[in-house]
Symmetry: C2
Subunit: 351 residues, 2 copies
């Protein structure tokens, strides 16, 4: 650990996102003085590694947060609901990667490239948006700033790691079973807590999270509501269809947009995206260059390609947006929020 830095807790340190949080804090050299890995009772006692040191995971309790300055939560909504206020009470700033507080009026929902300034309004808790939302707004915000944005219709192609480490295992186990002509017994996907489970191997499942009364899934509702909140514009029309694929990591999105301004061209969109922070343009059809999940996995940026003008709508454009859902979609964005908090002077002094 560093001589100067923050007392940091990771809640859900053994999960798919928690593991990436540890790696990302280390890789980006966030000033950590002490690191406290926390988890549910079930995972307590496991070991995690941070900067070469083996640390024992402890069960998260209200008292765990005594002396903690920054707590990154990614252990499910119920854990965040129970413990994030306890962490705040004890002086920590919480960056929560669950959906528990995202739509709360007094909680900033932040993608630093888009709305870093919203952090100034925080009351202890900052929400990290849904993975599929983050990569989309990161790519669309520079376009919106340059040309305005009226409408978004997105169809997603989402990786199983978004449903946790167990879903990754399930996909690989099922794949092997199909290849060996063995029986497949789905137990987790599409949604661990839902009634029915379906085979993900060599399939596409049009359900992520549970269904709402309006026929949309909660994942789709999240994309719609969070986009409007992050962009601070309730008038943007957003529609989403979210689909789970047999891909380990890397969410892809087929996105249709309508801009406000007239006469916008594909080269102008490319230029704006090329200059945008955290975006890599991969858009050369003649050379078959476009983003793909297996290429984006393990990388920090949001990749954009297949940009083309709609053939009927003068202000309509199509594009393909891909990012690592565990990195920019989760752990990296949380750590970037931590850096932004530090930059804006919103964390306690390092000790």
């Amino acid at each position: 650990m560093s001589h100067l830095g923050y007392h940091v807790a990771i809640v859900g340190a053994t999960g798919a996102v928690g593991q990436q949080m540890l790696k990302t804090l280390e890789r980006l050299n966030f000033p950590v003085k002490t690191l406290l890995p926390l988890s549910s009772k079930r995972s307590a006692g496991k070991k995690v590694v941070f900067k070469g040191e083996e640390l024992t995971v402890q069960e998260a309790t209200p008292e765990s947060f005594e002396g903690i300055q920054l707590a990154l939560f990614s252990a499910g909504g119920s854990v965040s609901k129970a413990l994030a206020p306890e962490a705040v009470k004890r002086g920590a700033v919480v960056v929560d990667n669950t959906s528990a507080y995202r739509m709360a009026g007094d909680v900033p929902l932040v993608v630093p490239e888009v709305n870093e300034e919203d952090l100034r309004d925080h009351n202890g808790i900052i929400a990290n948006p849904n993975c599929s939302t983050i990569q989309m707004v990161a790519a669309l915000q520079p376009i919106r700033q340059a040309f305005g944005l009226k409408r978004i219709i997105v169809s997603t192609y989402q990786a199983v790691s978004g449903a946790g480490a167990e879903a990754i295992d399930e996909m690989y186990v099922q794949s092997r079973q199909v290849l060996n002509n063995e029986q497949v017994n789905p137990e987790i996907l599409p949604v661990g807590g839902d009634k029915k489970h379906y085979q993900i191997a060599f399939n596409a499942i049009p359900q992520i999270d549970k269904f709402q009364d309006n026929g949309f899934t909660f994942e789709e509702v999240k994309m719609i509501q969070e986009t409007k909140k992050i962009m601070r514009d309730q008038t943007i029309q957003v529609a989403a269809t979210c689909v789970r694929l047999p891909v380990e990591s890397g969410h892809s999105e087929s996105v249709y947009i309508e801009v406000e301004k007239e006469g916008v061209t594909v080269p102008q969109l490319r230029e704006v995206l090329q200059a945008a922070p955290g975006i890599t343009l991969q858009d050369d059809p003649a050379q078959q260059i476009y983003p793909m999940a297996i290429e984006a996995a393990g990388k920090d940026d949001v990749f954009v390609g297949r940009i083309r003008k709609d053939l009927d709508q003068e202000k309509g454009f199509h594009m393909w947006i891909v990012a690592d859902n565990l990195l920019k979609g989760a752990a990296l964005n949380s750590v970037q929020i931590a850096f932004s908090l530090q930059k804006l002077g919103l964390l306690e002094n390092q000790s």
Copy 2:
């Protein structure tokens, strides 16, 4: 073979679609007097089975079509270009499953549930639409008839069998290699004849067929142009993004539509689809009932679910359309065209 029936040739009898054509002719009991399996020189000499009889595949030449009354082509566009006119010259009616003649002004492009009557205008060749187009127009035509149709935006989730038997093999070989931590060497997908090849196992590739100058792929252009031709309406706005997935058979489509009529409801859409020929409604979110590729594979119908109203556009609706791309998307539709030709008296008398 039957005592009474037609002299039928299958061009491309050893391919993924050709094999399904043989099975479908047999299963639906199309009146076949003699069946002549044809192929390229490379596959000539192979055996195929039809109604329990083993038949030797012959190399397709102009003379092969002497005495043939019905020829189903599925051996690539160049074969159709060279030999379909030769078959017509010798008195055969050709049902062509390639893209060679689809947009020709004097060639009907037919999905029987949608535009069977167009068959009356044929001049020897009838084109079978692209797989991803067929299932979409089959599902949207009843909606269009009831409520009008202004606009379609579709993102596809397409199976590898659409790229042929070799692409299926490639997907399974690569999947095994990934599971065994072995090197993957893509050679076919996304497009056999294109410059670069990418891993399809555990990935999603946003390219099907080659890129056109406007940034759309040819598959996307096919969906756009063919939909307008089949629906006989050049004013329908159609946009498509076509994506290849690691799925063996069964294309899925996330479809957004805008209808003409005001006040249309989701129950009304369901009612119309439930009454439509060739459509199975699978739409009960509360019970997690929706179409999926692995369920649709091997079935004749087009499956529709996830129907919901757009949250902003009063005339906008979203849905999820799935069908077996080798059956309704290819072989079954070709055989259905043959039945329609017979029904309309457009085939020579059975002999």
